[in-house]
């Protein structure tokens, strides 16, 4: 509380400019350029009289729910994570003769720090007593792209982006309207196998047309030509962001397939930890054998944190953060989109999240490849360097699946 009070006093001050460090300052803030902008402070060795071990600060990011103004932007909640350089904590010695431990400050959904701050080492006890935290965020290396390469934040989903309610979709001659597409309707743009992408204009107002497909429509009404200027990424189209109604919180779980698996998912190659790759790998999931194109459902309430991506041999996966903190990967599904399911959608227990697929090799029956994570780590679910090829908080879902199977079907393997 004492720290938060001090934070409240200091946090409202502008943090953008480099400033001289006051004699008793608890916090010293950087600007966007980083620690070097803290006037007069230099990197130093850890102070010899640092009293308590700081190991907990290296594994958790402390939640601070005091509103802060950082570089002119108000943040209601931030996470403070001890900075590391080559796995060593970073200390600063400042002109006021005080030593500070450097922290990176994150807003809740950003992977890159929004500021860096030095915390006077005498105040670190406050952090150690903090009960609110989350796993440390590992930032990827900055992406330095060649000039002229376009980069976008968000998914690849493109939509009809018009100011009016609909858009005419024309035939190849552009003279005939085949059907109308709805505003914000998802579409995909064809790439031609030829080197040239045919572009056309129409008399009157000049438009450049592109050939598109509307995946949600029946096949005979899914392909046509539209003006390119009305095709945009969803993230670039004002008013098109997905709204996320709050799901009714429940603690009810259900089995993630609508019928019992045809084979025991705790035996043979289907079980978690089954030996793979001649013994060099271990299976990271339970394989729930069912029927091709049958529904896979959300095990409980949650949010889609990654929509369908290429997963394995012509199948896809979708990642869901579930109520209670667990993360599930629903793998080896088809590419077919489930109703009302896309990035950032909330899903409810038993809601369809995908459809069971079958891998190209036909090695096995159609299945849902179900991976479950405790939610105590962050970062990509697929990770090199361990025998599962997965993140460190991967868990054996067998026991929970057995419980859900009994709850849902009245019996279990």
């Amino acid at each position: 509380m004492q720290f938060i009070y001090k934070l409240a006093l200091l946090g409202l001050s502008a943090l953008a400019a480099t400033q001289a460090v006051a004699a008793n300052e608890t916090l010293v803030w950087s600007d966007a350029s980083g620690l070097k902008s803290i006037s007069g402070c230099e990197l130093s060795e850890p102070p010899s009289q640092l009293k308590s071990p700081l190991s907990e600060l290296t594994s958790r990011a402390i939640e601070v729910d005091q509103a802060l103004m950082i570089n002119g932007v108000k943040h209601e909640k931030t996470f403070w994570q001890a900075s590391r350089d080559l796995n060593q904590l970073v200390f600063l010695k400042c002109p006021n003769k005080l030593t500070y431990l450097a922290f990176e400050v994150y807003s809740p959904n950003e992977l890159r720090p929004i500021a860096q701050v030095g915390v006077h080492t005498n105040e670190l006890a406050i952090f150690r007593s903090s009960t609110k935290s989350r796993p440390v965020t590992v930032s990827a290396a900055p992406l330095e792209l060649p000039a002229g390469v376009q980069a976008f934040s968000g998914s690849t989903e493109t939509i009809v982006c018009t100011s009016s309610g609909s858009l005419n979709v024309r035939d190849e001659s552009l003279n005939k309207v085949l059907f109308t597409a709805n505003r914000h309707e998802t579409l995909k743009v064809f790439q031609s196998f030829d080197a040239t992408q045919p572009k056309k204009t129409i008399g009157g107002t000049t438009y450049t047309f592109v050939k598109v497909q509307f995946p949600s429509r029946p096949l005979e009404q899914s392909v046509g030509w539209v003006p390119e200027e009305y095709v945009k990424l969803r993230s670039d189209c004002a008013g098109a962001q997905v709204s996320t109604p709050i799901a009714t919180p429940t603690r009810v779980w259900t089995f993630p397939t609508i019928k019992r698996p045809t084979d025991n998912y705790k035996e043979g190659m289907r079980r978690f930890n089954a030996s793979r790759g001649g013994g060099s790998r271990s299976h990271a999931a339970c394989d729930l054998y069912r029927v091709k194109d049958e529904q896979a459902v959300a095990a409980t309430n949650g949010t889609v944190i990654r929509d369908r991506y290429y997963f394995y041999e012509g199948t896809y996966a979708i990642d869901v953060k579930h109520t209670g903190g667990k993360v599930a990967r629903y793998g080896e599904i088809t590419g077919k989109q489930a109703p009302n399911v896309k990035l950032n959608s909330t899903v409810k227990t038993g809601q369809i999240v995908g459809y069971i697929g079958k891998v190209n090799s036909n090695c096995c029956k159609p299945m849902l490849h179900f991976e479950l994570y405790k939610g105590t780590a962050t970062g990509a679910l697929s990770q090199p360097g361990n025998r599962y090829g997965r993140r460190s908080d991967l868990m054996d879902p067998s026991q929970l699946l057995t419980e859900w199977e009994k709850l849902t079907f009245g019996q279990s393997y």
Binding site: D194, V212, Q213, P215, L219, G224, M269, G277
Partner: protein, 233 residues
């Protein structure tokens, strides 16, 4: 009377000719109207049906030419890119640079969340002739290093497309005998727990791809992909 009856008969015959001829045309060529408005018309007396949801086997393309030398060259160039940049120590930035220098106008999509981190998708917007839909997915490991989880592209339909793609893999990847082989699908094991496969896309493959647009004219397209070996059989 007879003249009137004859006149009526002629009129009726004329009407029948005008009305029923159209219906007859539609019956004989039920797909023509659809094809002329949705895709390049391929001259065919038996137009293929559009991709259906329940078809799992690919049908051979109708009346397409064999791949041209420039298209084969593009295929090998792309296979070379996939082979090189799915190996360690070939970072994403180098891939982007290579795509840009070959005129493919790469675009980067960064999908990030605080739970599962960052997935970067690289797509080529201006493909080499005979190829299209270059797509790469990168994740970030615990040390902050990016790694490729999937990389693929497509080769245009042709009677020799599958054979050409197989040849491109054998030429550009360090592979031995395939682990799986069918008329429409071949797969090889690579090092570093990865696989490479080529597949002639089925109607089912094309029906629900969330990234790529397809129509009936694309039947027979071949995808070449490298990805993590999830099953590791």
């Amino acid at each position: 009377m007879k003249k009137s009856a004859l006149t009526i008969l002629i009129i009726l015959a004329a009407l029948w000719f005008l009305v029923d001829r159209d219906q007859a045309t539609r019956v004989i060529q039920p797909e023509l109207a659809r094809e002329s408005v949705t895709e390049k018309v391929q001259a065919s007396t038996s137009a293929p049906a559009p991709p259906g949801e329940n078809e799992s086997a690919a049908r051979l393309p109708a009346q397409t030419k064999s791949s041209s030398p420039s298209e084969i060259a593009s295929l090998n160039e792309m296979a070379s890119i996939v082979s090189q940049f799915t190996q360690p120590d070939h970072p994403l930035t180098e891939l982007v640079d290579r795509l840009q220098k070959s005129g493919q106008e790469p675009k980067i999509f960064r999908d990030a969340n605080s739970e599962t981190g960052e997935m970067i998708i690289v797509r080529g917007d201006s493909p080499l002739p005979g190829t299209r839909y270059f797509h790469a997915q990168y994740f970030t490991d615990d040390a902050g290093e990016r790694f490729v989880q999937h990389m693929s592209f497509e080769f245009k339909p042709a009677p020799d497309a599958m054979a050409a793609a197989i040849s491109a893999v054998e030429k550009n990847f360090n592979v031995s005998s395939p682990t799986h082989r069918r008329e429409d699908y071949v797969r090889w094991k690579l090092g570093d727990h990865k696989i490479v496969w080529v597949k002639r896309l089925s109607d089912d493959d094309m029906a629900h791809d969330p990234f790529n647009a397809y129509s009936a004219a694309d039947r027979g397209a071949v995808r070449l992909a490298v990805e993590d070996d999830v099953h590791a059989e």
